[in-house]
């Protein structure tokens, strides 16, 4: 049996080769064989007494058609699949060449759909799917403390040390923080983003420098001469890729000399945008305090330890610490999540939403193409019928059409990838950089595979329905028709209508989604921000922490005041003030307070953001005084300590409205028991973001509190364009200290940047919805044009019988309107399904916002009427005589 099998396989393989390579011989052999059969049969018939001609005719009838028998025989041959596939491909090419215009239109529509889907997927791929570029990246975890309210917060150094020494789940654990600094190599200076890290930081990422080494244990000791690792780009930029960079000295924070001990590889970008890494011990700020939550923590799990176990492990330690140190500022728990999730988590829902939206657009594109092919399939009914009559089976016809679709999809897929590549170059300018890893977006292998799958999938989508309809033609009926268009026309028209309704439904869903996002965005921007961003220049200043020039706080204050008073002298400057926290910066430094004469308030009710400002700050940013007074020059270091609070804090803590005159002590910030008198209440300045409700906040005058004086923001209110004042402001700061790094931004820019992600989402969604509506409009136009063309005769007859052109016009227009209405009705349940998902992304807008629904419906109806107008007008121009002649 096995021997038989081998023989049979070998025989089949020989036949396969013969069939492929000696095709002509095989064909002529078959032809001779069948002719000999005919001869033998007619001879037999003659022997039965028939005349030669009759004998021959009867033999032919008995054979049942030479070509059909041949075709049937060919179909059993080995390799027939490949052979006919080649034929199909060749034939598809001929079909495309015959009507290039049609296929160029179809292929470019498809390329557009595949292209934007691929472009968006490449973002999703880079941000959400691709593993972080570190060995065993799946084992890298990110750890945070969890505060009383259940929110994540940064980790204090002593807590980190306990986690590190007591946990069993981690191979390595390291703390890090990031900050800005000037860096100078004696020749040039610039402001860079840098990280301070504890031991094992680089081991956690399994990454080593390309040149040099990481920090030694000795270098992590406080008081050791500091050393730094630099990024590849800093090495290229500042050191011109010099190989002898090791051992060179650079100055950080305007004066601390540090030795370069290594260069990190180009792909290493953690924490994001770091150009420099130094030891946490260099800064040595708040490393002893359990309540100074200054660090973030990463860790590498031991092999085989799941994230959940590590969560249990570290959570247990955190809860034990809390039991020992029950203060409000001690985290009550810990959270351990994958680093990848930490980085991509915030943007995941919106990226997935955009991917879904672009998927809708692709579906609409496919439906449109399906419709075009359907109409074309009807026109080709005669051709297909003839091929069927010549012995092509239905499967063969469907396959022929499928090959055409696939060829179309491949061509469009290639064009789509090129389009995506091009789109990405534009998208890179639009994507907010706040999305982690967005700079790594490229078209890589995964994206290409995705594009290929999308192309094949869409060819199935747009190819299958027309293929089935077109292949189901009745040979006799079709060939009998003088014009071949009637048979399949009715059926394909119904399917076409269905397709159009479904694409209108998809467009409607996208329109609603976009409408809601737009409304939400508008709501967000309409929020009272509590400040006036016009004509305000801000400058972030990082004052040297340890610089000899700046060692004592009173010195710093005097320099601040000197800088501000000189800026105030510039013509056009109204106010120059300082704040520890800019509006919308998302910078939350909050602390616990006690009210004099009150028992401690429960939990976080006695918790407020703590800001240090100069007296003019509120005037500079145009924040209204609600009650009491603002700071003045009389609130000096030796005067009575005062505080200004915002309305949120006033309402929260003093619901009876008697805030003024009470005295509060922020024990988180002042070790000494200093009660400050509440002298004023100001409007809520949105400091976190426009989306979140304003936090309770307290403002203290910088003369009375020296905390945070190393990092501050200059706020300059001017007449005219604020950017124009930047050079003068920089000169004034530079005259005090060349090494102070300054970053300028207008308050207007900051406001825009704070909503850049929502802006991006809304803009992208808007683009997709716009495409969807245009495509749906084209779909309606296509189907109605086709309808008008198909029913010319009917229209002609109606007009001959006295129907006026207004009736005809109204008839076609109402079809367009009906398609829009049916689509909207079909889309509604889909919206109901996704409304809940959407509501988490909406701000101050209900997912069933009536305005959006009415707006989208009216808009869709208008588009439908607009796209039916041209075909409708064409219908009214039908001349009864012409229409009948056409038949």
């Amino acid at each position: 049996m096995i021997a038989d099998h081998v023989i049979s396989s070998a025989a089949r393989f020989r036949s396969f080769l013969r069939n492929i390579f000696r095709k002509r011989a095989v064909e002529s052999d078959l032809d001779r064989e069948l002719r000999s059969y005919l001869d033998l049969l007619s001879e037999e018939n003659e022997r039965r007494g028939l005349a030669p001609a009759a004998a021959r005719r009867e033999a032919l009838v008995a054979l049942g058609g030479l070509t059909q028998v041949k075709e049937q025989t060919r179909e059993v041959r080995a390799g027939v699949f490949f052979e006919t596939l080649l034929q199909d491909v060749y034939y598809a090419g001929r079909v495309f060449r015959r009507s290039p215009g049609f296929f160029v239109v179809v292929a470019s529509t498809l390329a557009l759909g595949i292209g934007i889907t691929t472009a968006l997927f490449s973002i999703v791929n880079a941000v959400l799917l691709r593993a972080l570029p570190y060995p065993d990246a799946g084992r890298i975890a990110w750890l945070a403390e969890v505060n009383e309210n259940g929110h994540r917060m940064a980790v204090s150094y002593p807590d980190f040390q306990d986690w590190r020494s007591q946990s069993h789940s981690f191979q390595h654990m390291a703390a890090y923080g990031d900050t800005d600094s000037t860096v100078s190599n004696g020749v040039s200076a610039s402001r860079v983003h840098m990280a301070v890290v504890t031991a094992d930081f680089f081991k956690t990422f399994g990454t080593s420098p390309v040149i040099g080494r990481t920090f030694s244990a000795a270098e992590h000791r406080i008081g050791t001469p500091p050393s730094v690792l630099i990024s590849d780009s800093l090495w290229r930029g500042m050191f011109g890729s010099a190989p002898g960079v090791l051992g060179r000295t650079i100055k950080l924070f305007g004066g601390i000399p540090c030795t370069v001990i290594g260069v990190m590889p180009a792909g290493f970008d953690f924490p994001a945008n770091s150009q420099l890494w130094t030891t946490a011990e260099l800064i040595d700020e708040g490393m002893q305090s359990r309540t100074a939550h200054n660090f973030e923590v990463v860790g590498k799990l031991r092999k085989g330890v799941p994230m959940a176990l590590a969560q249990e492990d570290v959570g247990g330690i955190a809860r034990r610490i809390k039991a020992n140190f029950p203060g409000t500022y001690q985290g009550k728990d810990a959270q351990v999540i994958a680093l990848h999730e930490h980085l991509s988590g915030p943007v995941k829902p919106s990226l997935l939403m955009l991917l879904a939206a672009v998927g809708c657009v692709l579906l609409i594109v496919c439906v449109n193409v399906a419709n075009l092919l359907l109409a074309r399939g009807v026109a080709r009914a005669r051709e297909l019928a003839i091929r069927g009559a010549l012995g092509a089976g239905r499967a063969r016809l469907i396959r022929q059409l499928a090959v055409e679709s696939l060829a179309l999809a491949v061509a469009s897929g290639v064009a789509g990838v090129i389009f995506a590549w091009w789109t990405l170059h534009i998208l890179k300018f639009l994507v907010p950089i706040s999305i982690a890893r967005v700079e790594t977006v490229t078209i890589d292998g995964a994206v290409l595979v995705f594009a290929a799958l999308v192309s094949i999938f869409s060819s199935l989508l747009f190819g299958v329905v027309p293929a089935f309809v077109a292949s189901r033609v009745d040979v006799n009926e079709t060939l009998k028709q003088t014009s071949a268009q009637h048979t399949a026309a009715g059926k394909s028209r119904r399917i076409g209508n269905l397709l159009v309704v479904s694409e209108v439904a998809l467009a409607f869903v996208l329109l609603i989604g976009t409408g809601l996002m737009l409304r939400s965005f508008e709501q967000m921007r309409r929020q009272p921000a509590g400040f006036d961003s016009s004509n305000v220049l801000t400058a972030a200043l990082s004052f040297p922490v340890l610089s000899v020039k700046w060692d004592a706080p009173p010195d710093r204050l005097q320099h601040y005041q000197a800088i501000a008073s000189r800026i105030r002298l510039l013509p056009g400057v109204r106010y120059a003030a300082y704040t520890s926290t800019l509006p919308l910066s998302g910078d939350r430094r909050d602390g616990h307070f006690l009210i004099e004469g009150y028992p401690d308030l429960p939990g976080f009710q006695s918790d407020a953001d703590f800001r240090i400002v100069s007296p003019d700050y509120f005037r500079a940013v145009g924040t209204r005084l609600m009650a009491g007074r603002l700071f003045s020059d009389r609130d000096g270091a030796s005067d009575m300590p005062v505080v200004v609070i915002n309305s949120a804090m006033a309402r929260n803590v003093f619901p009876k409205g008697d805030a003024l005159g009470h005295r509060v002590w922020f024990d988180s910030f002042d070790e000494k028991r200093i009660f400050m008198a509440i002298v004023g209440i100001v409007d809520n300045i949105r400091e976190d973001s426009l989306i979140h409700a304003p936090n309770p906040a307290a403002y203290v005058c910088y003369t009375q509190h020296q905390l945070y004086l190393s990092d501050t923001n200059l706020v300059v209110k001017v007449d005219g364009h604020p950017e124009r004042f930047a050079p003068a402001v920089r000169r004034i700061i530079g005259s005090v200290d060349q090494d102070i790094p300054v970053t300028f931004e207008t308050l207007e820019e900051l406001s825009v940047r704070s909503t850049s992600r929502q802006r991006f989402e809304t803009a992208m969604l808007g683009l997709f919805a716009w495409l969807a509506v245009v495509l749906a409009g084209i779909g309606i136009y296509g189907v109605l044009s086709y309808l008008v063309q198909q029913t010319r005769a009917e229209i002609g007859v109606r007009m001959a019988l006295g129907a006026n052109s207004r009736d005809i016009l109204a008839g076609i227009l109402s079809r367009g309107a009906r398609a829009a209405l049916a689509g909207a009705l079909l889309g509604l349940p889909v919206i109901l399904l996704i409304a809940r998902l959407l509501s988490s992304m909406l701000y101050n807008v209900k997912p069933f916002d009536p305005l959006t629904y009415v707006g989208a419906s009216v808009f869709l109806l208008l588009v439908a009427l607009l796209s039916s107008y041209l075909p409708a007008r064409r219908a009214t121009q039908v001349e009864p005589v012409d229409a009948l002649k056409y038949e």
Partner: protein
């Protein structure tokens, strides 16, 4: 003309059986099948030629051009060794099935 539904396996079996007496051309095979099945099976060219070509590719039949009884050129098919074995296998299988079917139909 009686029209029995020919399963593919049945047709193969009949063709193999008809060739046990010696080589034969296509028309001869279809006549022979009609004869040995007492006219129950009338194999049409549209089924016959695909089957012959398929079986030849499977190595059960071999073919050669020759002269017919009236000196006409015709393509003659004959059983190969593998074809004879295939006939045995299929005949055994067929007997088993027909017995089983007969038993099934005979069952109360």
């Amino acid at each position: 003309m009686p029209h029995a539904n020919l399963l593919q396996g049945t047709l193969d079996l009949l063709i193999l059986k008809s060739l046990t007496l010696g080589e034969m051309h296509g028309l001869g095979i279809s006549r022979r099948i009609a004869q040995i099945t007492a006219g129950t099976f009338d194999v049409k060219p549209g089924s016959l030629f695909p089957a012959l070509h398929r079986m030849e590719e499977a190595g059960w039949l071999s073919s050669a051009w020759g002269e017919s009884e009236n000196n006409r050129r015709a393509k003659f098919y004959k059983l190969t060794r593998a074809g004879q074995r295939q006939l045995q296998t299929e005949a055994t299988e067929w007997n088993r099935i027909s017995l089983a079917i007969a038993a099934a139909l005979g069952a109360g």
